[in-house]
């Protein structure tokens, strides 16, 4: 799989994209932009000659899609300063979905069910992480395609908040929307998180979408802080709350599948805001993870896409540590196939310097793995398609 990297601006990115797109073995281009990169897709950058060079100006004959992410992963490392251009070896069909912040806009009507008739098996999904209807969008993907298409992807955007249009195609940027890039390539997906229950169950007695107002009848922030303080052995002050919170996500229980993690990121007026909806009436646990378990989970996610004996790496396979999420597996001779990693940015921040260990656990030794840290992950774990938080998603393509 062809991949090119640049830390240049719009002009350099344009040249790179056009170059990759023109390659004979490339039928689609995936562009991953670091949030601190010199290229900003929606800013109307000008090239060296002063002309505007946004995605819509690229001279390409194949579909191009991409997003802005806190971190871009390539060549075994992570960075936020550059732009990675990946050439896909199979045809890509793009579907743009808009209006994910407007309740009046229908989502299902923007999805083409006949994609399945054209033999597509894998779809990359990039969504504006700050849109209010991400879960609804994921639900519509599931309702339209079921599990007949393997979805993999995540939330795009900047870590500290909205920073302009974070999703784009060769036709331009997409605000408050998503892009679904489907391809006939098969894939294997592994989804793991590694977080374990430390408190709960707590009943969500009042919530509103992504904001939890009360737990067990008590103000959510107070209840949550108490649990965290008890487990951490210290009571976090408001200024350091998020530093603690990133290690204590919520987990939503389900039968036959592991917990769906919801990542709290802010407290306001006694309520807790999360990345992802926490439905009222549900039971949640407070989870906690350590470096070892998280890295192990990430390794397990990759292992779910690889046959252990064929790689001979001794990597753990399906017997992943508690908190792992089962995924699909390919035949053992698929090693060497290109892989993609979508690793939650909150894991990156939580692990800190240890993230390098996690990164090493998920990338292939030949440096061919590409990906990004995302604001939420989209994948199905041998069950219902979910919008995950704080998870590691690995997808490996094949051409069968």
């Amino acid at each position: 799989m062809r991949q090119e990297y640049t830390e240049g601006g719009a002009g350099a990115v344009a040249t790179l994209v056009e170059s990759v797109a023109a390659a004979t073995d490339v039928e689609g281009v995936f562009v991953l932009v670091g949030e601190a990169a010199a290229f900003t897709p929606g800013a109307g950058d000008t090239g060296g000659d002063g002309s505007e060079t946004g995605p819509e100006t690229w001279d390409v004959a194949v579909p191009v899609f991409g997003g802005v992410f806190p971190v871009v992963i390539h060549d075994g490392t992570e960075t936020d300063r550059g732009t990675l251009v990946v050439g896909l070896p199979a045809g890509v069909e793009l579907q743009s979905v808009t209006g994910l912040d407007d309740e009046r806009v229908g989502i299902d009507t923007q999805l083409d069910p006949e994609v399945l008739d054209r033999g597509h098996e894998t779809a990359f999904v990039l969504v504006d992480a700050y849109a209010s209807r991400v879960e609804e969008f994921v639900g519509e993907l599931f309702d339209t395609y079921g599990v007949e298409v393997t979805f993999v992807g995540g939330g795009a955007g900047c870590l500290d908040g909205p920073c302009g249009p974070s999703v784009f195609t060769h036709q331009g940027t997409i605000s408050d929307g998503a892009v679904v890039a489907s391809t006939p390539l098969a894939s294997a997906v592994g989804v793991e998180h590694g977080w374990e229950e430390v408190a709960g169950p707590l009943r969500v007695t009042d919530s509103d979408g992504r904001t939890v107002h009360s737990l067990d009848g008590e103000p959510a922030a107070e209840r949550y802080r108490a649990i965290v303080a008890e487990h951490a052995g210290e009571s976090p002050d408001p200024e350091s709350f998020f530093e603690f919170a990133k290690g204590y996500p919520f987990g939503i229980s389900r039968v036959g599948g592991e917990t769906v993690v919801r990542d709290p990121y802010a407290v306001s007026d006694g309520s807790v805001d999360c990345f992802g909806a926490v439905p009222e009436g549900e039971f949640v646990h407070v989870l906690h993870g350590d470096r070892r378990r998280l890295v192990a989970a990430a390794r397990a996610a990759r292992a779910d896409t690889v046959d252990d004996t064929a790689e001979g790496s001794g990597e753990p396979g399906r017997d992943s540590p508690d908190g792992g999420i089962a995924g699909e597996s390919l035949d053992h001779d698929s090693v060497g196939s290109p892989s993609f990693v979508f690793d939650c940015v909150s894991r990156v921040r939580y692990l800190g310097e240890a993230f390098a260990e996690e990164l090493a656990a998920v990338v292939d030794g030949d440096g061919s793995t590409v990906g990004a840290s995302t604001l939420g992950e989209i994948a199905d774990d041998d069950g219902r398609l979910e919008y995950h938080n704080k998870a590691t998603v690995v997808a490996r393509l094949s051409d069968r």
Partner: protein, 836 residues
């Protein structure tokens, strides 16, 4: 492995997620999404069981993905359900390593869950039974509510689109509270829908009598009916009271107790509307609502116009009896015009009848003309291209909303009227109503105007037939009195011209020697118009065809019969009727289609009478000729010759030795002479049939006896008591007595005798002639008993015939009492019998 605690949590969460949504599909879809999320399933469906026990089918209500057929697990589940007669639940299937779970949704259908490569454990499936039941109940409730909602929406849509006012009312704390009204209610009663909702119906439809828009101003009777002021007391034709609950229902105190009735109710009410007070037929229907209380729907059907029409119709029918009884056309028209003015408020109207002579629609009866600016001459319609004539000709009513914008031909220029109604009266003419303002006649006026016109036409038809019948009766009596055929033709032409007003009438007589129809009698107008009257021969003329075929005919337009009429003929339409073997009667007009069916039938009847009269007159003429010839022969020729024969025969008797033949000749001559005398008497008797003269019985008898004695000097005739009674008898009654006596005398022999006597009866007289002769042979009495006047008798038979005839013509009877010892002839003149 799922822990018990996790299972309980998940089941609890599922239970909370399952509940009534905003519809069946939404309820099922939300629940299904929860199932898939909490049980980590890759696909699923909620299926509704349909069909009957013989053919159960499953219809998807909610599915994930939207097209579940792309999922192998779902397809397997559907296949299994279709192939299994009585599926047992819960069921577990697998396809290509994918597990499929089917659970029963009691009384609703089936829940399908595709769990992928991982099975849902049995404990969890078992624990889902209650949640599945809850889901099934929720779906069923949504179904019922959807149906109710659909019906309700349908009902509300119907209610809203209905053009009559409808109110929906519920009873709360004893008050009829308006739940809703439709647009028609708002517009009719002038109330705002929003303001009406929640208001009491008692106060919503109260009326203000002082502001009534109805000029009649109704009052309330004790039984809830209404009486219009100005109408006879008790006239409740505009409002019929009564209903299930009775009681008054007045405009200022409407009775709304129907809101508590549990059965439909119907009654008439009066309510204040934006157009004043109006009468409604209120129909109510109680409808149980989902909330347990009963709603009442009240439908107000405006019947004001219906009641008004009904009342007008009743008045019209009562008034129409007047002109049905009117004597003559003019009286009928006058009364009809009065009815139009009084009942229908046609203040300016008139009846115009067709006058063939003037060729105009002449005003026969008018109303309001004197008060208007219309000139009398404007009421005479002569322009045949005008809208009035067109309506008359076509038989189609015409309403002119505004003469100023009317694009047809008006009969008069500069008329003061602006709108008009022209109603044809069949062949009689037209009825015209007009007004000084435009659009003065609405649908109701047109309707009742047509009704009046129809009644008037019927009355005119009736008077026309009566007049025609009288005319025919008179004509028939008169025609037979004509002395000859020409006289019949003259009367026929006169009657025809007078009765149907046809100016050009003619009778053509058939001349057999020439094989022509020649004109014999015609009206002066025909003579002036046609000049030289034509003759008609075989072929080429309608008159000849009519005569030859004996079939009457009407020619509405002579141009339609080709060359049968002279192209220059001024006659445009004609009636031709045959007069048997005599000829043809024609009545012509210079106008096309100028004769009616009634006139055609009248002429046929008249012609039939004329034909009979012609036959009678002809026979009479023949009889007169025969009578004259016979009288002349008998009076002169026969008697003169007989005298010569008798005289010569007597000479032979005196001079010849053998006198038998001569004596026989003398006797025979006497008999013939006697027959001639009898024939003369018979003629006199018949000529004076029907005449009576006062006659003394005693004088009559003595005169007769003297007469017989003179002819038979040797006869022994006795005369008995004779009363001096006077009776009205035939002028030649003496003949009867003489012949009765002569009959007895002629058969006398030896000492025979004849006696004549008379006696009075209670109501008359009887004259008896008795003799002791051999009696009258039965053969001579039989014809008399048969009573045939035409029986020809001779000799003594003629004498008995004379006795019988004269006594009958005098109103009496004759009895013959005959035996071997004699005969008694009784002439009974009993005035109790009817004169013959």
């Amino acid at each position: 492995m799922t822990s018990r605690r996790e299972r309980i949590q998940v089941l609890y969460e599922l239970s909370l997620a399952v509940g009534r949504g905003s519809g069946l599909r939404e309820t099922a879809q939300e629940a299904l999404s929860a199932y898939l999320r909490k049980l980590n399933c890759t696909a699923g469906a909620v299926l509704r069981e349909t069909g009957d026990s013989a053919a159960v089918e499953y219809e998807p209500v909610a599915t994930t993905p939207a097209d579940p057929t792309i999922n192998d697990g779902y397809a397997r589940a559907v296949e299994w359900l279709g192939a299994t007669d009585e599926p047992a639940f819960p069921a577990e299937l697998s396809v290509d390593g994918t597990h499929v779970h089917l659970a029963e949704l009691p009384e609703f259908g089936v829940l399908v869950l595709v769990s992928g490569s991982r099975k849902i454990d049995a404990e969890t499936l078992g624990a889902l039974t209650a949640t599945n039941r809850k889901l099934a109940d929720a779906c069923l409730a949504e179904e019922v509510e959807r149906e109710l909602r659909t019906q309700r929406d349908r009902l509300e849509a119907v209610v809203e689109t209905v053009s009559e006012p409808i109110v929906r009312v519920v009873t709360r704390d004893g008050d009829p509270i308006v739940d809703d009204v439709n647009s028609a209610f708002e517009a009719t009663f002038g109330c705002d829908r929003q303001a009406a909702r929640g208001a009491s119906l008692d106060t919503l439809l109260t009326t203000d009598d002082t502001d009534s828009g109805d000029a009649s101003g109704a009052a309330v009777t004790g039984d809830g009916g209404h009486v219009e002021s100005g109408t006879p007391s008790g006239d409740q034709s505009l409002l019929e009271s009564g209903g299930v609950w009775g009681g008054p229902d007045t405009p200022d105190d409407p009775d709304t107790s129907w809101v508590e009735s549990d059965v439909p109710v119907r009654r008439e009410v009066r309510r204040q509307t934006t157009d004043g007070q109006r009468v409604f037929s209120l129909r109510t229907v109680p409808v149980p609502s989902s909330g347990g209380e009963t709603e009442q729907f009240g439908l107000y059907i405006d019947i004001t116009e219906q009641r008004r029409r009904q009342r007008t119709l009743e008045r019209l029918y009562r008034a129409a009896e007047e002109f049905f009884d009117a004597p003559g056309r003019e009286a009928v028209c006058r009364r009809a015009a009065r009815v139009a003015a009084d009942v229908l408020d046609f203040s300016l109207c008139g009846v115009h009848l067709y006058d063939r002579e003037s060729r105009a629609l002449e005003p026969v009866a008018t109303r309001g003309v004197d008060r208007s600016e219309i000139r009398r001459e404007q009421l005479r319609y002569t322009d045949r291209d005008s809208v009035v004539w067109e309506a008359y000709r076509e038989g189609e009513p015409t309403a002119i909303a505004d003469l100023a914008t009317f694009d047809g031909a008006l009969p008069n220029e500069n008329t003061p009227v602006r709108s008009a109604l022209v109603l044809p009266l069949g062949n009689h003419g037209v009825f015209v109503a007009s007004a000084p303002t435009a659009d003065a006649f609405d649908d109701s006026d047109r309707y009742f105007g047509k009704l009046l016109a129809r009644m008037l036409q019927t009355a005119l038809d009736r008077t026309g037939r009566e007049q025609a019948l009288r005319s025919i009766q008179s004509a028939t009596r008169s025609l037979v009195t004509a002395t000859d055929a020409t006289g019949v033709a003259e009367q026929l032409v006169a009657y025809t011209s007078d009765t149907i007003g046809a100016p050009y009438v003619c009778v053509w007589r058939y001349e057999p020697g020439e094989r022509l129809l020649r004109p014999v009698v015609w009206t002066d107008e025909a003579g002036e118009l046609l000049g030289e009257m034509p003759t008609f021969g075989p072929g080429g003329s309608i008159a000849w065809e009519v005569f030859h075929e004996g079939s009457p005919r009407v020619v509405d337009d002579v141009t339609s019969v080709g060359e049968a009429y002279d192209a220059d003929s001024p006659i445009r339409s004609e009636i031709l009727v045959p007069l048997g073997e005599y000829g043809v009667l024609t009545a012509g007009s210079q106008l096309v289609d100028d004769f009616s069916r009634t006139e055609f039938e009248f002429l046929q009847t008249l012609a039939a009478s004329a034909e009979s009269a012609l036959q009678i007159v002809g026979k009479r003429q023949e009889l007169n000729v025969l009578d004259e010839v016979l009288a002349r022969i008998l009076r002169h020729n026969v008697r003169n010759d007989l005298n010569v024969i008798r005289g010569r025969a007597e000479l032979l008797v005196d001079e010849a030795s053998e006198t038998d033949h001569a004596e026989r000749i003398v006797d025979t001559a006497d008999e013939i002479l006697s027959t001639a005398i009898n024939a003369k008497q018979i003629r006199r008797i018949v000529d004076r049939r029907g005449e009576f003269v006062a006659t003394r019985i005693d004088r009559l008898v003595r005169s007769a006896v003297e007469g017989v004695a003179g002819d038979y000097p040797d006869a022994e005739i006795g005369v008995g008591p004779l009363p001096g009674v006077e009776l009205e008898l035939h002028p030649h009654f003496e003949y009867a007595v003489r012949h009765a006596v002569e009959n007895g005398v002629e058969h006398q022999s030896g000492e025979s005798w004849v006696t004549v006597r008379a006696a009075t009866l209670e109501t008359g007289v009887v004259i008896e002639v008795e003799d002791d002769g051999p009696g009258i042979p039965e053969a001579e009495l039989d014809p008399l008993a048969a009573g045939e006047e035409t029986q020809l008798v001779h000799g003594s038979g003629a004498g008995l015939w004379i006795v019988d005839r004269v006594v009958r013509y005098s109103g009496g009877t004759v009895e013959f009492d005959t035996s071997d010892s004699g005969t008694v002839v009784r002439l009974i003149l009993d005035r109790a019998t009817t004169p013959w």
